[in-house]
Each structure stands twice: as structure tokens, then as C-alpha cells.
């Protein structure tokens, strides 16, 4: 382990790698990161459950937005739709149908919501605009 560290530091001293590269390599060698990357991967932890959805907007003009939304809030919000009275739902479906959207909210089952929210952990949206604005949406 110490030999590896020496080699990394020598590479840094000779200018073959940058400081950030050296930092990354040293971090990879640290015991905590090794256990995190190669360590105990139990069946339960193999698929980590995301708890929050992050929305990060960084603009070139230094307007930054950083939002952290608990996924439970999304779950609870979607479940609220099940409380819409049937006659209101019929009204919504009728008007959506007129607009060409044949989406039936009755088809959304609680297990679908769970699946949807649980699988959000694998979702990541990265938008890099030409003007330098960056939008990033991900769950962790």
C-alpha cells in the first residue's frame, strides 16, 4: 500500500500526473473508499434506495439553483391523486381526451408508484446548454 502511495507521489513530483489525478488515486487507495467500492456488497445494499431527488441548475451568469426533494414527498404527492373523486376524474379524462391525451389516472396503482419512485435512483438528466448553463437532475 505504501509503495503505491510512493509511486503516485513520484509521478506527481515528476509531473506525469496532475494534482487532481494524484488526489483521485490516493483516495482510491484509502481503506474507506476500498470498502465502499470493492467491499461488502450484500444483496440488500447492491441496489441502494435513493432518498432524495436533486435538481441543480448552474448558469453561466452565476444564477444557481439547488433543490433537494425527498422522494417521499413525490410518493405522497402522487398518492394524493387517488383521492380525486371519480366524477372529477371523469371530467379530467374527458378534457384530456379532447386534447388527444388518452391518459387514465385510474391505471396508476400504488405498486406502480413504488416502482416508479424506486427506479428513479437510476435516472440522471444532464443538460449542457450552449451558453454555459448546466442542468442536472439525479437521485441519490
Amino acid at each position: 500500500m505504501s509503495n503505491d502511495r510512493e509511486r503516485i507521489l513520484n509521478l506527481l513530483a515528476t509531473g506525469k500526473i496532475s494534482v487532481s489525478d494524484a488526489m483521485q488515486l490516493l483516495e482510491a487507495l484509502s481503506p474507506s473508499s476500498q470498502s465502499a467500492t470493492f467491499g461488502t456488497i450484500s444483496p440488500a445494499s447492491s441496489k441502494t434506495q435513493a432518498k432524495f431527488m436533486y435538481v441543480k441548475v448552474t448558469s453561466a451568469k452565476s444564477d444557481n439553483v439547488d433543490v433537494r426533494i425527498p422522494l417521499g414527498l413525490m410518493r405522497a404527492g402522487i398518492r394524493l391523486t387517488s383521492l380525486i373523486p371519480p366524477y372529477v376524474l371523469d371530467h379530467i379524462h374527458k378534457h384530456m381526451g379532447e386534447k388527444g391525451i388518452t391518459f387514465d389516472m385510474n391505471n396508476i396503482k400504488p405498486e406502480n408508484i413504488e416502482d416508479l419512485v424506486n427506479n428513479l435512483s437510476e435516472m440522471e438528466v444532464n443538460v449542457n446548454c450552449a451558453n454555459g448553463d448546466v442542468v442536472r437532475v439525479y437521485c441519490a
Partner: protein
């Protein structure tokens, strides 16, 4: 667990405001209010159910409770040009 506090921070060139709102005291108060009005709600629910238009008041109340509980951890941080900053955290 219900949210216990809300942290609000507003900063710009002129003002610098930051405070914590302890909201934990609201929940026992709401509990008492709901206990007091629940007979009326129950009556309304029974009447409307008899008319075949159930209000599902208690379902709605339960859903709102779930919504409030899941607010914990919500964080909104907006940082604009001209050193303007708004931060809201629910904890």
C-alpha cells in the same frame, strides 16, 4: 416524524436575514383541533356517504399528514447574481 423546524435564509447586498422557525409546537395544536372537530367531520362524512358522495375526509387528512411528514429534508437554495441568496430547509 413531522418536520420540527424550517430554516430560512435571505441575503442580498443590503440585508442579511436568517432565522429558524420552530414548527414542532404546531403539531400538538393541530392534533387538538382535529380531535375537537372530528365529530363534525365524521357527521359530514356519514351524511355525504348516505348521499353516495363520500368526502373521504379522513383519507385526505391522512394523505396530508403523509405529505407533511415527507417534507422533512426538503431544501431549496437559490443563489443569484448580485450576491442574492435564498435558502429554505425543512428539518
Amino acid at each position: 416524524m413531522m418536520p420540527l423546524w424550517i430554516k430560512i435564509k435571505v441575503r442580498n447586498e443590503k440585508t442579511r436575514l436568517g432565522f429558524w422557525l420552530p414548527i414542532f409546537w404546531l403539531w400538538p395544536l393541530f392534533g387538538i383541533v382535529i380531535l375537537v372537530i372530528s365529530p363534525l367531520l365524521l357527521l359530514a362524512e356519514l351524511i355525504m356517504s348516505a348521499m353516495r358522495k363520500p368526502l373521504r375526509i379522513f383519507c385526505i387528512m391522512y394523505s396530508i399528514r403523509s405529505l407533511i411528514i415527507s417534507l422533512r429534508g426538503l431544501s431549496i437554495h437559490i443563489k443569484g447574481r448580485d450576491k442574492q441568496e435564498v435558502c429554505v430547509v425543512v428539518g
